[in-house]
C-alpha cells in the first residue's frame, strides 16, 4: 500500500523533451496490479452507499449519489474476473461525454510517472483476463508486468451496450 508520486522534474531537468512522461495511477485488483492514466481520472473517493440496478451485467453493481451527481458503478474485479468482490474497495471516478462513472478497485498502489518508451503498445494482453480492446499497453514496473487499462474504451457507450447486449444474449441462450 505504498504510494509514490514521482516528480516529472527529473525528466524535465534533463532538458530533453523527446521522452514525454505521463503520471499513472497503479492499483490492485486482487493480486494483480493495473495502471490507469492519471489524467483520465476525475477523483478517487471512499466507498459510498449504492443502489443496485436490475437487468444489467453482473459487473454493473448499481448507482450512487456522489455530491448530488448520479454515478454508475462498475466493479472491475467482477468485470475482469478477479475474485474478491466482498471488499468495499475504492471508487475511481471517471468522466466522459456520457457522464461520470465509478470503477471499484481493491487498493491504490501508488501514483508514478511512466516514460512513453517504457510502454509496450504492441504486444498487448499476454493474459486472457482482459480483452485486448481495453488494454492501453503493458509496462515493466518494479519487476512486474503491469497492464495499463484504457478507461475511455471501457466506458464508451458502444462498449457498455455491447457488453450488456452480449450478456443478455448469453443469458437468453
Amino acid at each position: 500500500m505504498s504510494t509514490e508520486i514521482h516528480d516529472e522534474k527529473s525528466n524535465s531537468s534533463t532538458g530533453a523533451m523527446l521522452e514525454t512522461t505521463d503520471p499513472y495511477l497503479f492499483f490492485n485488483l486482487g493480486l494483480e496490479i493495473f495502471g490507469v492514466k492519471l489524467a483520465a481520472i476525475r477523483e478517487v473517493v471512499e466507498p459510498q452507499p449504492f443502489k443496485t440496478v436490475p437487468n444489467t451485467i453482473p459487473s454493473f453493481v448499481g448507482i450512487c449519489n456522489l455530491r448530488g451527481q448520479i454515478i454508475g458503478l462498475l466493479d472491475f474485479r467482477i468485470h475482469f474476473g478477479i475474485k474478491n468482490p466482498n471488499h468495499l474497495g475504492i471508487y475511481m471516478i471517471f468522466e466522459n461525454e456520457h457522464g461520470a462513472f465509478g470503477a471499484i478497485i481493491d487498493q491504490i498502489v501508488c501514483v508514478d510517472s511512466l516514460k512513453e518508451t517504457e510502454i509496450d503498445r504492441k504486444n498487448a494482453a499476454p493474459q486472457a483476463v482482459i480483452p485486448p480492446q481495453y488494454i492501453d499497453g503493458v509496462v515493466q514496473y518494479k519487476e512486474q508486468l503491469v497492464i495499463l487499462i484504457d478507461i475511455k474504451a471501457i466506458f464508451s457507450k458502444e462498449e457498455l451496450t455491447s457488453i450488456a447486449h452480449s450478456k443478455m444474449m448469453a443469458r437468453a441462450v
Partner: protein, 688 residues
C-alpha cells in the same frame, strides 16, 4: 501281681500293728498307773524311808531325853520303851539316808511343772543344823535342835505340797497324817505325863492340863483329817484294823479328856496316881506303836496296790499279745492263700511269658532300628530349624529396617502433602493473575479500535493525496508545486499507514498471544488444580498406605518375633526330642538286651516256680490244683541249690520280684519316652 503285692504288704503291716498293740497298751497303762510319770518305786521308797527315819529319830530323841538329865527315873520308862539300838554313827547314817532320800524325792520325783517348795536344798534348815551339829560338840541339846529342825523341815515339805498335786495321792496324805499323829503328836502327851510324873511328883498342873488338852484337840483334828481320806481306803483289806485303831485312839482321847477335866476346872494342880500316869503313858505309847503298825500296813497295802495294778496291766498286755498272735496267724493264713493264688497265676503267666519274650526281643530290635532312623531325622530337623531361626532373625532385622524406612517415608509423604497444598494455593493465585491478563486483553482490544481510527485517517489522507495528485496533473505545469505537496502528504500517509499497520499487526499478535497464553494458562491452571487435588488425594492414599505398611511391618516384626520364639521353643523341643530319641535308642538297645535276659529269666522262672511250690507246700508231689499240676512237671526238677526246707523260697521270690519290677520300670520308662516323643512331635507340628 501288683494288686496281690499291695494286699500282702498291707497284711504284713497289719501283723506289725497287731504286735505293736500290746506294747502300746502296756506302756500306756504303765504310765497311767504309775501316777503321772511318777515312779512307783520312788514314792514307795520315800514313804518307807520317811517312816523309818522318823521312827528312828523318835527313838533317838527318847534315848537322848532319857539318857542324860533324868538318870534316876528313866529306868522305869526305859523298860517300857521299844528296844531300839542307837549309836552316834547310826544316827549319822540315818540322817544321810534321809537327806539323800529327800533330795531324790524333791529333784527327781517332783517334776519341773510343780513349783518346788523346798527350793534348791530339800531340807534347808536341816542341812544348816546338820553342819552346826557336826562342828559342835554333838551335845544332846544340839541333837535335840537338829531333830526339831528336821521335823520342821519335813512338816513344811509336806504342807507345801499342794493337795491337788498329782504326785501325792490321798492315800499318801492319809499315811502322812497317820505318821504325824503317831510319831509327833501322840508322844507329846506321853512326854507331858512323863514330865509330871518325874518333875512334879505325880502332880498334873493346870498348864500341863491345858497343853495336854490342846494336844488332844490336835489329835482329834488329825483323826478327822485322816478320816477325810476315807475314800482312798475303799479297797483296803485292813479296814477293820484301821477302824479299830481309830476308835481306840478316839477312846483314848476321850478317857484322857475325862481325866484332865478336873485339872482344867480347878485352879490348882491335882495329884495323880503314878500308876494311872503310867497307864496313860503306856496306853499312849502302845497306841503309838499300834499306829506305827497301821502305818506299816498302809505302806504295805500301798505297795500291794501298785503291784496289783501292775499285774492287771500285765494281764491285759498278755491278753492283747494273744489276740495279736491270733490275728497275725489269721493274716498269715490269708497271705499263704494269696501266695497259692499267685502260684497258679504265675504258671499261667509263664506260658505267655515265653511267647512274649520272643515277641519283645523282635519288637525291641525293630524299635532300636526305628530309633536310629528317628535320631537321624531329628538331627536333620534340628539343623534345618537352626537355619530357619537364622533366616527368621534376618527377616526380623529387615522388618525393623522396613519399619524405620516406612516411618521416614510417612514423614516425607506428610511433607509432600503440605507442599502440594501450598502448590494448590499458588495455583489459585495463578488463576487470579490469569483473570488480570484477560483485562490486559481488553485494553489491547481498545488500542486496536483506536488504531482503526488511525487507519481510517490514513486511508482518507491517501485518497486526498491521490486526488491532489490528480488535480496537480490536471493543472499541468502550474500544478507541479501542488503535486509535490500531494506527494509529501502521500508519503506521510503511507508512513503513518505503515506504522498503523505495524501497530495493528503487533496488537493482533499480542492479542493472539495474550489470548493463547490466557487460554493455555487457564487450561494449565485448571489441569494443575485438578492435578493438585488428585495429587493431594494420591498423597493421602500414599500416607494411608504407608500407615498400613507401617502396621503391616509391625505385624511382620511381631510375627517374626513370635515365630522366632516359636522356633526357639521348637528347637528346645527338638533338642529334648533329640535327647529323648537318643535315650530311646539306648533304651531300645537295653530293651533288646533285657528281652534276652527275660527269655533267660523265663526259663529260670519255671524252675523258681517249682522251688516256690516246694517251699510253700513242703513237697513237690502236692499239687496246688489242676492248673499247677498241669503246667509243671515236678519230676523234672532242675539241679538248683534247693534245700528241702522252705528257706530257699524267700530269696527266690525276692529275685523274681526284683526282676519283674526291673522289667516293669523299664517298660514304663519306655512308654513314657514314647509319650514324650509323641508330644514333642505334636509340639513341633504346631510350631511349624
Amino acid at each position: 501281681m501288683g494288686h496281690i503285692g499291695l494286699s500282702l504288704s498291707v497284711k504284713i503291716g497289719l501283723i506289725g500293728v497287731f504286735y505293736l498293740m500290746p506294747i502300746i497298751s502296756f506302756y500306756y497303762s504303765f504310765t497311767i498307773f504309775s501316777g503321772r510319770n511318777l515312779s512307783f518305786l520312788e514314792t514307795e521308797h520315800l514313804g518307807s524311808k520317811i517312816l523309818e527315819v522318823t521312827s528312828k529319830l523318835k527313838a533317838y530323841a527318847f534315848h537322848l531325853e532319857f539318857s542324860g538329865e533324868f538318870d534316876a527315873s528313866t529306868l522305869e520308862f526305859q523298860t517300857l520303851m521299844p528296844k531300839e539300838q542307837f549309836s552316834e554313827d547310826n544316827s549319822d547314817a540315818t540322817f544321810k539316808d534321809l537327806a539323800e532320800a529327800s533330795k531324790n524325792w524333791t529333784t527327781k520325783i517332783l517334776p519341773a511343772q510343780i513349783k518346788n517348795p523346798l527350793g534348791a536344798s530339800p531340807l534347808p534348815n536341816t542341812s544348816v543344823a546338820w553342819d552346826q551339829y557336826k562342828k559342835s560338840g554333838k551335845t544332846s541339846e544340839d541333837k535335840k535342835n537338829l531333830l526339831l529342825t528336821l521335823k520342821k523341815d519335813i512338816d513344811e515339805a509336806f504342807q507345801s505340797i499342794p493337795e491337788s498335786s498329782n504326785l501325792i495321792l490321798d492315800f499318801d496324805l492319809a499315811t502322812y497324817t497317820l505318821i504325824d499323829l503317831a510319831l509327833f503328836t501322840l508322844p507329846k502327851i506321853s512326854n507331858q505325863i512323863q514330865f509330871s510324873a518325874t518333875i512334879k511328883d505325880s502332880q498334873l498342873s493346870k498348864d500341863q492340863g491345858l497343853l495336854i488338852n490342846s494336844t488332844l484337840n490336835e489329835i482329834k483334828g488329825k483323826i478327822k483329817k485322816y478320816q477325810s481320806f476315807e475314800s482312798a481306803f475303799d479297797s483296803d483289806p485292813n479296814k477293820k484294823v484301821r477302824d479299830h485303831l481309830i476308835s481306840k485312839t478316839s477312846n483314848f482321847v476321850n478317857d484322857l479328856e475325862r481325866l484332865i477335866e478336873p485339872v482344867l476346872s480347878s485352879s490348882s494342880s491335882i495329884p495323880l496316881k503314878s500308876q494311872s500316869l503310867a497307864a496313860i503313858y503306856l496306853a499312849s505309847v502302845n497306841l503309838g506303836g499300834e499306829l506305827q503298825t497301821l502305818i506299816q500296813m498302809h505302806l504295805h497295802s500301798r505297795i500291794s496296790k501298785i503291784w496289783s495294778e501292775r499285774i492287771q496291766t500285765l494281764t491285759l498286755s498278755s491278753l492283747l499279745w494273744a489276740l495279736a498272735l491270733f490275728l497275725s496267724f489269721k493274716v498269715q493264713r490269708s497271705i499263704v492263700h494269696s501266695v497259692q493264688l499267685i502260684l497258679r497265676r504265675l504258671s499261667l503267666v509263664l506260658q505267655d511269658s515265653h511267647q512274649t519274650s520272643d515277641q519283645l526281643s523282635e519288637s525291641a530290635r525293630s524299635a532300636s532300628e526305628s530309633a536310629a532312623t528317628e535320631a537321624a531325622a531329628v538331627q536333620q530337623s534340628v539343623a534345618s530349624l537352626s537355619e530357619m531361626s537364622s533366616m527368621l532373625s534376618q527377616t526380623a532385622k529387615d522388618a525393623e529396617i522396613t519399619q524405620k524406612t516406612v516411618e521416614e517415608s510417612f514423614v516425607t509423604s506428610q511433607k509432600g502433602i503440605s507442599l502440594i497444598r501450598d502448590l494448590g494455593k499458588t495455583m489459585d493465585k495463578m488463576a487470579a493473575s490469569s483473570d488480570q491478563l484477560m483485562e490486559i486483553n481488553k485494553i489491547i482490544e481498545e488500542i486496536d479500535k483506536k488504531t482503526r481510527v488511525i487507519n481510517d485517517i490514513v486511508f482518507k489522507s491517501q485518497l486526498l493525496a491521490v486526488n491532489a495528485a490528480i488535480e496537480a496533473a490536471r493543472a499541468g505545469h502550474q500544478g507541479k508545486g501542488f503535486g509535490v505537496v500531494a506527494n509529501e502528504v502521500s508519503n506521510l500517509a503511507s508512513i503513518s499507514g505503515k506504522a498503523a499497520t505495524e501497530i495493528t499487526s503487533l496488537i493482533q499478535n499480542s492479542l493472539q498471544k495474550v489470548n493463547t497464553i490466557v487460554l493455555q494458562s487457564s487450561d494449565y491452571i485448571k489441569s494443575g488444580q485438578q492435578q493438585t487435588i488428585q495429587s493431594i488425594e494420591l498423597f493421602e492414599l500414599i500416607a494411608n498406605s504407608i500407615v498400613n505398611v507401617k502396621e503391616n511391618a509391625n505385624q511382620i516384626l511381631n510375627a517374626t518375633r513370635e515365630q522366632n520364639t516359636a522356633i526357639e521353643q521348637t528347637s528346645i523341643a527338638m533338642s529334648t526330642l533329640n535327647k529323648s530319641v537318643q535315650t530311646n535308642q539306648h533304651l531300645s538297645q537295653q530293651c533288646l538286651a533285657q528281652s534276652k535276659s527275660i527269655k533267660e529269666s523265663t526259663k529260670s522262672l519255671s524252675y523258681i516256680e517249682k522251688a516256690l511250690i516246694f517251699s510253700v507246700f513242703g513237697t513237690l508231689n502236692k499239687s496246688v490244683d489242676s492248673t499247677v499240676s498241669m503246667t509243671n512237671d515236678l519230676s523234672e526238677r532242675p539241679p538248683s541249690p534247693l534245700n528241702h526246707n522252705g528257706e530257699v523260697a524267700s530269696p527266690t521270690i525276692a529275685s523274681l520280684e526284683e526282676l519283674s519290677n526291673n522289667i516293669v520300670s523299664k517298660a514304663s520308662k519306655l512308654n513314657q519316652k514314647e509319650t514324650n516323643l509323641n508330644q514333642n512331635d505334636a509340639n513341633h507340628r504346631d510350631a511349624a
